[in-house]
């Protein structure tokens, strides 16, 4: 029984911290807000060099065959840096291809992703924003040579830079995942601008998008279990990133409370502020336990892995929002300015809150499992 990171995991965490501290400063993050792509190609290539993009992929495809714990360690650090880019959706899509893809699909996509040559995403939510795969309304009909897809996908992360879009659709055989490439005819992408300018969402309309038979990931009708797994991984990944954002807000608050003086003393000496910081720490430490327990449970294929993923997402969604919000309160007016960096992390946590199922949805999943 050891809840601490092992030596390799700690090294990974330290390396991620150094890299992001140097390369993903708040100035860099702010500089990408007006960029049409919203991410840095150079940073992406460097992340590939560091082995982050193939972190959990099989070694035969250029990966390191590590697990969800290591992925969570990186996302935790990315949340801390409010990293803008398609890391989370790309590793999630890559996991799906590795888990269910044909040899040809794996050969086509996995080495490209691991080396930084391709980005990917998954369009999980349909027009009605249900996260239940069974509620998928997008349809795929068989054509002579392949399939024709119709439907609407909402809030797809980083679709505008993706080379591969994973699209779940209902077919006569059952739920099926398709790999759709952006050049496909009938595909319309509409960007959504939201409060976190380092998160990019897209509405996707599939108006009779035609794809070949080889666009089916694995076999038709086999996506239901895989989608459940992807949602759980997405939930834990998002929770990890929210955790990093929350801890950054806590650290900034504690640092500020030590130096900011009012009434002739540091505000951290007042119980009103100190107690707030203590409550924030409890939320952050509990979130840490929830995120890494869930990540470990997925890696270990533990009986309670699905439960733990929902626990992590529901708990951290609220905890991170609370911590980031209280950070603004601790800072007072300065924390409410555009120039101060707190809102980068606060908005990142907020952006991830509804993704891969919000707290209410995951609480319902929890109850279905235990009651």
């Amino acid at each position: 029984m050891d809840f601490a990171f092992d030596a390799d995991q700690q090294l990974l965490k330290n390396a991620a911290r150094s890299f992001l501290d140097e390369r993903c400063t708040s100035a860099v993050v702010r500089g990408l807000w007006d960029d049409p792509r919203g991410e840095s190609e150079a940073m992406w290539k460097d992340m590939a060099q560091l082995g982050w993009l193939g972190l959990s992929l099989p070694e035969t495809y250029g990966g390191s065959a590590l697990g969800m714990v290591e992925t969570a360690i990186l996302l935790d650090e990315m949340g801390r840096a409010a990293y803008p880019g398609p890391y989370l959706p790309t590793v999630l899509a890559a996991h799906a291809i590795a888990a269910a893809g044909t040899a040809a699909q794996k050969n086509r996509w996995l080495p490209a992703i691991a080396t930084g040559g391709a980005r990917a995403t998954i369009a999980l939510a349909d027009a009605d924003l249900s996260w239940d795969p069974a509620a998928t309304t997008t349809r795929a009909e068989k054509t002579g040579a392949g399939w024709r897809l119709s439907g609407v996908k909402q809030f797809v992360a980083w679709a505008h830079v993706a080379d591969a879009l994973l699209v779940p659709a209902r077919t006569p055989d059952g739920l099926t995942l398709f790999i759709v490439e952006p050049a496909a005819g009938g595909l319309a992408l509409k960007p959504l601008t939201s409060i976190d300018l380092g998160t990019r969402w897209t509405s996707i309309t599939l108006d009779g998008v035609t794809v070949g038979a080889d666009a089916v990931l694995g076999a038709p009708g086999t996506a239901e279990l895989l989608l459940g797994d992807l949602l759980r991984r997405g939930a834990v990944a998002a929770a990890a990133e929210m955790l990093g954002a929350a801890r950054r807000c806590l650290d900034m608050s504690v640092g500020y409370a030590k130096v900011r003086e009012q009434f002739g003393q540091p505000i951290g000496s007042f119980q009103a502020i100190r107690h707030k910081c203590a409550e924030m720490l409890v939320s952050v430490e509990n979130s840490h336990a929830a995120v890494y327990y869930a990540a470990w449970a997925l890696d270990a294929k533990a009986d309670d892995a699905a439960l733990a993923a929902s626990v992590a997402k529901s708990y951290v969604s609220e905890a991170a929002r609370h911590v980031c919000g209280e950070a603004i309160q601790v800072h007072g007016g300065i924390g409410f300015t555009w120039e101060y960096d707190l809102h980068l992390y606060m908005k990142r946590a907020k952006a991830l809150e509804p993704m891969y199922g919000d707290a209410d949805w995951h609480r319902e999943l929890i109850l279905r499992r235990v009651a």
Binding site: D2, F3, Q271, V282, N286, H288, A289, Y293, A300
Partner: protein
């Protein structure tokens, strides 16, 4: 990171589980003699004082194994050992700070529950500000004479001895004038009176000491070292009960689900009401987070990393959760949650509250108010976290100028 139990720990858990399933008392233990007998059965089986060093009758067991035993006891609702404070606080205090004569005189009798112990710390005017305690211990040459009043004394009514904090020097700064003593409760100068709480039960006592006698040989540590000793004893027990606590929360949760299936409102079982489901889901999520956090603390303890001030995070976290838990439970149950007698069948399952008693929902709800006050209130925990974990500046305090 690896959260699996080692094969040895797993085997230990299985053996422990089988032992408790075979030996847990089937009827409620009513008399002190029955409770003492159960304690001795547990001691003979190796489940009492497990964390104590071997030379004093313990097994130097890891925090994880102690937690496993407590957890298995909670699983089958086994009654607690009768000498919890003796085992958890007093014994370790004597082991760390006591004289050889004190060790010989007291430790074996604590383990065997031949002598039961209480802790005489809090006073009516010294709660959060414990160091302002006023009970005096005066040096009378061949003994100390103690005068003062203690309150919130758990097990006071059945105790033979008390671990006492009293002021032995009024001329020095308040933290430095306190000494730690062992005091015999059975003497004319000590009057123990039960204290009834909002639960209606009498789990605590008030203890009045008037010209009470403490032998010179029963001073623990040096004169004036009492505060320091009290600080270290507070941390002995952290973590050992954490898994058991979550197991009790979980068994109460399953009783709550059962009740929500059995009770109907607006033409449907409560369990079908989305608002009720949301509350139940919230409780279970938080309960699991408590479990994960416990495992994290236990794994650190197992590696010899004392939790130190971070144990305040655990205490603050679970006690505040417990209040939210039973508030939500009573929202779900409506007025039934407040009933103490005459409950319908759906609600007849006794709830295993954190006090360790099987009780009603009403009791568990009321008892949940205690957790954020005892052993350092939530406000004190937040001060500790702020100052010692986060390194925030200390507040200006009138009593620091001395």
């Amino acid at each position: 990171m690896d959260l699996r139990y080692s094969p040895d720990d797993l085997a230990f858990r299985d053996t422990t589980r089988r032992w408790f399933e075979a030996n847990v008392p089937t009827a409620e233990l009513k008399t002190l003699a029955e409770k003492r007998e159960w304690h001795r059965t547990l001691f003979a089986a190796g489940f009492v004082g497990m964390g104590w060093p071997r030379e004093y009758g313990g097994q130097a067991a890891s925090a994880l194994r102690q937690a496993v035993v407590a957890d298995e006891m909670a699983r089958v609702n086994a009654p607690a050992t009768i000498n919890g404070l003796g085992i958890g606080i007093v014994g370790p205090t004597i082991i760390h700070h006591g004289t050889e004569a004190q060790k010989q005189r007291y430790l074996k009798k604590i383990l065997a529950a031949d002598e039961l112990w209480c802790q005489l710390y809090s006073e009516p005017n010294a709660g959060s500000d414990l160091a302002s305690l006023k009970t005096r211990a005066e040096d009378k040459g061949d003994h100390f004479e103690v005068n003062g009043q203690k309150i919130w004394t758990s097990y006071g009514a059945i105790s033979d001895w008390g671990l006492l904090l009293a002021r032995s020097d009024t001329a020095v700064a308040k933290h430095r004038g306190i000494s730690c003593f062992l005091i015999n409760i059975h003497q004319p100068g000590v009057d123990v009176r039960p204290l009834k709480q909002v639960t209606g039960n009498q789990e605590f006592c008030e203890v009045f000491m008037t010209g009470a006698r403490v032998e010179k040989s029963d001073l623990v540590g040096r004169l004036g070292q009492g505060w320091e000793i009290a600080q270290t004893t507070l941390s002995y027990e952290r973590g050992g009960n954490s898994l058991a606590r979550v197991t009790r929360y979980a068994s109460a949760f399953h009783a709550l689900v059962k009740a929500a299936r059995g009770l109907r409102r607006a033409g449907q079982p409560l369990i079908d009401d989305p608002l009720v489901r949301a509350k139940l889901g919230r409780i279970y999520a938080e309960l699991e987070v408590q479990r994960y956090a416990s495992l994290r603390v236990l794994s650190a303890l197992d590696k010899g990393e004392g939790p130190g001030a971070a144990s305040s995070i655990t205490k603050l976290s679970y006690s505040e959760f417990e209040k939210r838990y039973f508030e939500l439970a009573l929202e779900i149950l409506g007025p039934y949650g407040q009933v103490t007698a005459g409950l319908p069948d759906a609600l007849s399952t006794r709830v295993s509250a954190s006090s360790g008693h099987g009780e009603t929902w009403a009791y568990a709800y009321l008892w949940s108010r205690a957790g954020t006050i005892y052993s350092g209130s939530s406000e004190i925990q937040k001060n500790v976290i702020g100052e010692r974990v986060l390194g925030l500046p200390k507040e200006t305090r009138a009593d620091r100028v001395k």
